[in-house]
């Protein structure tokens, strides 16, 4: 922190930055010493369970309003001013709806699928550094933990689709699992570059490695050639992992009714919805942690604003970006999806590993910027032309509504 501004050293701003940590220590003080770590952990869990579903409620209304405005309509506007209380209405509706389980469905697996999803998704938040000194557990292999838990969500998708004994569910589940497995490889490979340059799998260390400033500009990894390529690849793979538009073929409403959660109603559907959105938040949080500097401020003069405020601001920007993409891009077909993953993203992420290694060993200076950027741009152009040449793509045509 040697290059931060003088304002930051003021204890008022330091206390504001650490206000949740101080609150946790204060509550811990009421308990005997041997119980304090457990109480601290429980408080952290309560904070996560309160904060992220709260953001989920906000996101549902933001998404519907945002999509509505992008599609030239209003979105929900009945419940509360500008429809802001819509999640309350949705929650009450989903709690009071009848829970219908098909007669021939596999009861136990049908019940366990949303449970497994929500457990796996909440576990992923345990290693996310939300602010300075604000992480639930600082695991040495934190990033590996997150990806391992993310791999378990695929199992719940399969369980949901198979146990419903429904053609559309099974088809949606197969597509979803195939898509998630294909995109898991570029997701992991594109995150490895951040680990390589930091030298640690711990999320806290990765954020701390990006917390320096040269002048007023931050050392975020996204401002380097390999970091930018890694960030773009990670975000595309993250969209595919969470079945988010334009990769939402598994839940394409016009094709598969609702995909793998066709046969779920009431609260179980709400749990699936919650699990999907929370998965989106956690993977967006990891994109921010790995490439966008985590809780760091974008300019050194802005460090007076607390670290957790920066993290949640970046998270909201990421959510807005996802909603924007959903409203803009058409859905990808299954074979286009698979081609893109295996023929473009996998070679690019492998090349990105080599470029990051070259960056490390070329030493400081302008040479490494030019070499790395040139290699990545050349590869992008060549891969786009050469490997995708069998796709019969014509000239772009525009049609406008009259």
């Amino acid at each position: 922190m040697s290059q931060s501004s003088q304002l930051w050293a003021n204890p008022v701003w330091t206390n504001l930055d650490q206000i949740f940590v101080l609150l946790q220590h204060w509550v811990e003080g009421f308990f005997p010493v041997w119980l304090q770590p457990a109480v601290g952990t429980v408080l952290g869990v309560i904070a996560i369970v309160a904060a992220f579903p709260g953001i989920f409620a906000l996101t549902t209304v933001l998404e519907r309003k945002g999509l509505g405005r992008m599609q030239n309509r209003l979105g929900p506007n009945r419940v509360g001013p500008f429809g802001i209380l819509q999640p309350v209405a949705d929650g009450i509706k989903s709690l009071t709806k009848e829970d219908i389980v098909p007669l021939t469905a596999d009861g136990v697996v049908h019940f366990l699928a949303p449970v497994v999803l929500v457990i796996a998704v909440f576990l992923g938040f345990a290693v996310l550094p939300v602010g300075r000194n604000m992480v639930l557990t600082n695991l040495d292999a934190g990033l590996l933990f997150f990806f391992a838990i993310g791999a378990s969500t695929e199992l719940s998708v399969f369980m949901a689709g198979w146990s419903s004994r429904n053609k559309y569910s099974l088809l949606g589940a197969m597509r979803a699992v195939a898509q998630m497995i294909s995109y898991e490889v570029p997701l992991l490979l594109s995150s490895v570059v951040a680990v390589m340059i930091t030298g640690s799998l711990s999320t806290v260390k990765i954020v701390e490695a990006q917390s320096g400033f040269t002048g007023i500009f931050p050392h975020w990894y996204v401002f380097t050639p390999w970091g930018f390529a890694g960030f773009v690849l990670f975000v595309i793979a993250a969209l595919a992992e969470t079945n988010r538009s334009p990769f939402d073929l598994p839940e394409g409403e016009s094709e598969l009714v609702a995909g793998y959660f066709t046969e779920y109603s009431g609260f179980k559907f709400a749990l699936f919805f919650l699990g999907e959105y929370l998965g989106m938040f956690s993977i967006a949080g990891f994109a921010i942690t790995l490439f966008l500097g985590g809780w760091g401020a974008p300019l050194s003069v802005l460090e007076i604003i607390p670290s957790w405020a920066w993290f949640f601001a970046k998270l909201l920007c990421a959510i807005f970006f996802f909603i924007w993409l959903r409203g803009t891009l058409p859905r990808l077909r299954q074979d286009q999806l698979m081609n893109f993953a295996w023929k473009f993203m996998l070679p690019m992420s492998l090349l990105n590993l080599l470029v990051a290694g070259a960056w490390r060993f070329l030493g400081d200076g302008w040479l490494r910027w030019i070499v790395c950027s040139a290699v990545l741009l050349l590869a992008y152009g060549l891969l786009g032309r050469v490997l995708m040449r069998h796709q019969r793509l014509g000239a772009r045509s525009y049609r406008y509504a009259d």
């Binding site: 697996v109 590996l144 391992a148």
Partner: protein, 179 residues
């Protein structure tokens, strides 16, 4: 502590063994695959109790995230899991019991031999991921490269097995004749 083992270890091993038993005894094949997933999770918990973080998380990532999915896909794409088996016990059960008793005796002998050999229970070494990486790159680089070659061969083999047959001129002309 029960029999010198911690409560957490006893619970985790009960979970693991129960999952493995269920995987062998259940009738519905997909249920068996899901119980096997519970066994994998129990094994990962055992690794984590021994402070082997990398091994535990890799177990979850590889076994639950990939192998379990592979097993259920294989079940669905080959035989269909809707028809439950009605015979839980095979006809050669005596040979099965004898062989499993022999394997159990061998494993028990190996475990008790190693327990008495390492009598001094010092604190477990803290192995970081960095140390694993350094070891992989220096003393274990040959197994690493062999595994990489093996994985590449498996990938190429899978692509070849799944590739559609290339059209020869002979089959094209026969198709033209059918139309």
């Amino acid at each position: 502590m029960i029999f010198g083992l911690s409560i957490v270890f006893v619970l985790t091993s009960i979970l693991t063994v129960a999952g493995a038993l269920a995987a062998a005894l259940l009738k519905n094949l997909v249920h068996c695959a899901l119980s096997l997933t519970i066994t994998f999770a129990g094994l990962a918990l055992l690794y984590l109790q021994l402070d082997a973080q990398f091994a535990g998380f890799s177990q979850i990532l590889v076994y639950i995230g990939a192998v379990a999915i592979l097993v259920v896909f294989a079940i669905l794409l080959t035989r269909g899991a809707g028809i439950p088996e009605y015979r839980s016990f095979s006809s050669s059960w005596l040979a099965g019991i004898t062989i499993s008793a022999g394997v159990f005796a061998l494993l028990a002998w190996a475990v008790t031999k190693s327990l008495s050999a390492s009598a001094s229970s010092s604190a477990a070494p803290q192995v970081t991921v960095q140390q694993i990486g350094l070891a992989l790159m220096s003393s274990y680089v040959l197994p690493l490269e062999i595994v990489a070659v093996l994985l590449t061969v498996a990938l190429i083999g899978a692509v070849i097995v799944a590739m559609p047959e290339s059209r020869t001129p002979k089959s094209e002309s026969s198709q033209g004749g059918d139309r």
